[in-house]
């Protein structure tokens, strides 16, 4: 009995030492999309606040939510959910309300991005980057690339291999737009129709991949076309002049990704510092220049290269913007999407 008590005491001592050690060196656990923050911005933050930033990555919003729900809520400090995921995460009590007093750079946010429908009063989130979903295509010499989702969904239009996007709302949304439906359709008939459409496209494709992976496949010429987010498309175009990012004429998706602090974040104070740091004008500009996504930061505009601001692939014209649609949280109807996604993957 005595012996086991001593063992327990030693064990407790070791544990408390470990907790002291972690308290001494601050750490921020960031859960973010891949290739979505300039590495230098992160190391500058580490230097400024004498801490360590541990980054974990995801490629699609649903996997992010699954990981947060499966214990990530008390593991990570900051997460970057897309607009349509915010209501669900708020309802599930996964997000901590932001303390505006600790985030003075909140004033830098562009007026149009304040008080969004998915988070009224910016209770839980601040906008990080925004962009669109579109096609990234290698243009064959002497051929014009059709500015249509038919590149993917019309077997007759197929010209080489293509990659589908491994993200349910983005992929189903693309097919819905091709058919002329809303991105947020919950009509079982329409959903069945696009399910079969995607399943048949899958048979002709090289399979599913995340936006970054899909872009890399087109860059490496193992595929000719892919569904990507605008940032990947624009970065690809800059590296390889034969490639082009297209927002299809049938319309597409516009989205805003957001910074949020998790409800049980282990390092809340540092997380607030991080959110404030990202909203700094210069830092925001550096991030957008790196990711080639659009910035919702008014103070960042003067530091962003003018050619980026004029690039319609990053900041689409009002005429194009009119054809773009935001995803919405579909509440109970989200199940329909999960069901057809499982079926598409299994077919």
């Amino acid at each position: 009995m005595n012996l086991s008590f001593r063992r327990l005491a030693i064990f407790a001592a070791i544990l408390s030492c470990a907790s002291i050690a972690t308290a001494a060196s601050q750490q921020l656990n960031l859960f973010i999309w891949s290739e979505y923050i300039e590495p230098q911005v992160v190391s500058d933050f580490e230097k400024k606040f004498d801490c360590k930033v541990v980054i974990d990555l995801y490629e699609d919003a649903e996997s992010m939510l699954a990981k947060i729900q499966g214990g990530g809520v008390s593991l990570y400090d900051v997460v970057v959910p897309p607009d349509h995921m915010v209501p669900a995460m708020a309802k599930l009590n996964l997000l901590a309300p932001l303390n505006r007093e600790h985030i003075p750079n909140f004033k830098n946010i562009e007026q149009t991005f304040l008080n969004p429908p998915y988070d009224s009063g910016n209770k839980f989130t601040v906008p990080y980057q925004w962009g669109t979903v579109g096609l990234f295509v290698r243009s064959a010499k002497g051929k014009t690339v059709p500015d249509s989702w038919s590149v993917i969904f019309d077997a007759k239009q197929q010209d080489g291999q293509f990659v589908l996007i491994d993200s349910v709302r983005d992929m189903v949304g693309a097919a819905l737009k091709y058919k002329g439906y809303s991105l947020n359709s919950v009509n079982p008939k329409e959903l069945k129709e696009v399910r079969d459409l995607i399943a048949s496209a899958k048979q002709r494709s090289t399979g599913f991949d995340g936006s970054v992976g899909a872009k890399n496949k087109v860059m490496a010429k193992s595929a000719r076309a892919a569904i990507v987010y605008s940032g990947e498309g624009v970065r690809g175009m800059t590296e390889d002049k034969e490639t082009v990012y297209i927002i299809p004429k049938e319309g597409s998706q516009i989205w805003v990704d957001n910074l949020a602090i998790l409800a049980q974040a282990p390092h809340k104070a540092l997380a607030e510092e991080f959110v404030n740091y990202i909203l700094d004008g210069k830092i925001g500009a550096r991030i957008s220049s790196f990711t080639q996504f659009a910035s919702p930061n008014r103070a960042a505009m003067e530091f962003i290269k003018p050619e980026d601001l004029k690039n319609p692939a990053i900041y689409p014209s009002p005429a194009v913007k009119a054809k773009l649609e935001f995803l919405q949280d579909l509440g109970p109807k989200t199940r329909l999407y999960d069901e057809i996604w499982t079926q598409i993957k299994a077919k």
Binding site: Q69, K91, G207, T334, R335, L336, A346
Partner: protein, 295 residues
């Protein structure tokens, strides 16, 4: 049988020795399993929560009655997993039987060497072995070209990715699981029974059927089950060698716990898979008793 010799009344003194294993099984097997079975009867919340009411809907959905009406997809995947598992086990038996007899007939030194050869593939990680098959079966490989020449260029399909490649990969992966228990029973064969049968006028087939097969049945069944059950649940090999388009049971389970966030449905699939395992073990227990009665 000899069992009675090893069964002295020492049950109580065994507890200290057994308790670590027992604790391990309770904490890491019995409790999680109970949770999985329980979850499979819960409902999925709108955002992937596990919530009441208790329902059989997850099982109905697996039978094909989903949100969008009847779809034979899940029953088809179940069936496909069973067929591919059975096919793998059959090929393993065809390949493993002669091998086990061959090894049992070797001199003791060569026997150990041969057994080592059987086990050697385990020294390499499953993923690496599977990727190696991708290269070996790729359209430009010499193996593919040989197959192409042998079939006279008849088969339009390439060797990889295909169901053929999946079976090849699974047979290579699971063959040792069949050969080792089978070898153990082949080694113990009482050949005088075979001689007696042959003296009594049995032809070769009947000698095998009546004098040898009952003696190795236990090993054969154990080996077959050791191959069949993991083959049914396998998902890495179908994913890599089937081109990611041949989905098996394991693949849907994985998806339910990640992207779809539907733990109740995922658990229901696990429970059904588990039922197959239990049925397999039950068949083994049932068949395992028969040879004893014969003796």
């Amino acid at each position: 049988m000899s069992q009675s010799l090893t069964k002295p009344n020492r049950k109580t003194s065994l507890w200290p020795i057994l308790s670590p294993a027992l604790l391990w099984l309770i904490v890491f097997f019995v409790i999680p399993l109970t949770i999985i079975i329980a979850i499979s009867f819960f409902s999925r919340g709108d955002y992937g929560e596990i919530q009441l009411p208790l329902t059989l809907e997850n099982y109905k959905r697996l039978m094909g009655f989903g949100l969008l009406g009847f779809d034979s997809l899940y029953p088809a995947i179940l069936w496909r997993s069973l067929v591919l598992g059975a096919l793998t086990a059959t090929v393993c038996v065809i390949a493993g039987l002669p091998l086990a007899f061959f090894i049992a007939r070797l001199s003791p030194r060569w026997k150990n060497f041969a057994l080592t050869l059987v086990v050697i593939p385990f020294w390499t990680n499953l993923l690496i072995r599977t990727y190696a098959w991708q290269i070996l079966l790729s359209p430009e490989s010499w193996l593919s070209r040989c197959a192409h020449t042998l079939t006279g260029g008849m088969s339009g399909e390439s060797l990889y990715p295909s169901t053929f490649a999946v079976v090849v990969g699974m047979v290579c992966d699971f063959l040792p699981f069949l050969v080792l228990p089978l070898y153990a029973s082949v080694e113990k064969i009482d050949w005088s029974l075979a001689e007696a049968a042959s003296d009594l006028g049995a032809n070769k087939l009947n000698v095998f059927r009546h004098a040898i097969l009952p003696q190795i049945a236990a090993g054969l069944i154990a080996g077959t089950i050791l191959v069949l059950l993991p083959a049914i649940g396998q998902f890495i090999i179908p994913d890599l060698l089937g081109g990611g388009k041949t989905v098996m049971l394991g693949n849907i389970i994985q998806q339910q716990f990640s992207q779809s966030r539907d733990w109740p449905f995922g658990s229901a699939i696990c429970v059904v898979a588990l039922t197959f395992v239990i049925m397999g073990l039950w068949v083994r227990a049932w068949c395992g008793e028969k040879p004893k009665e014969l003796r």
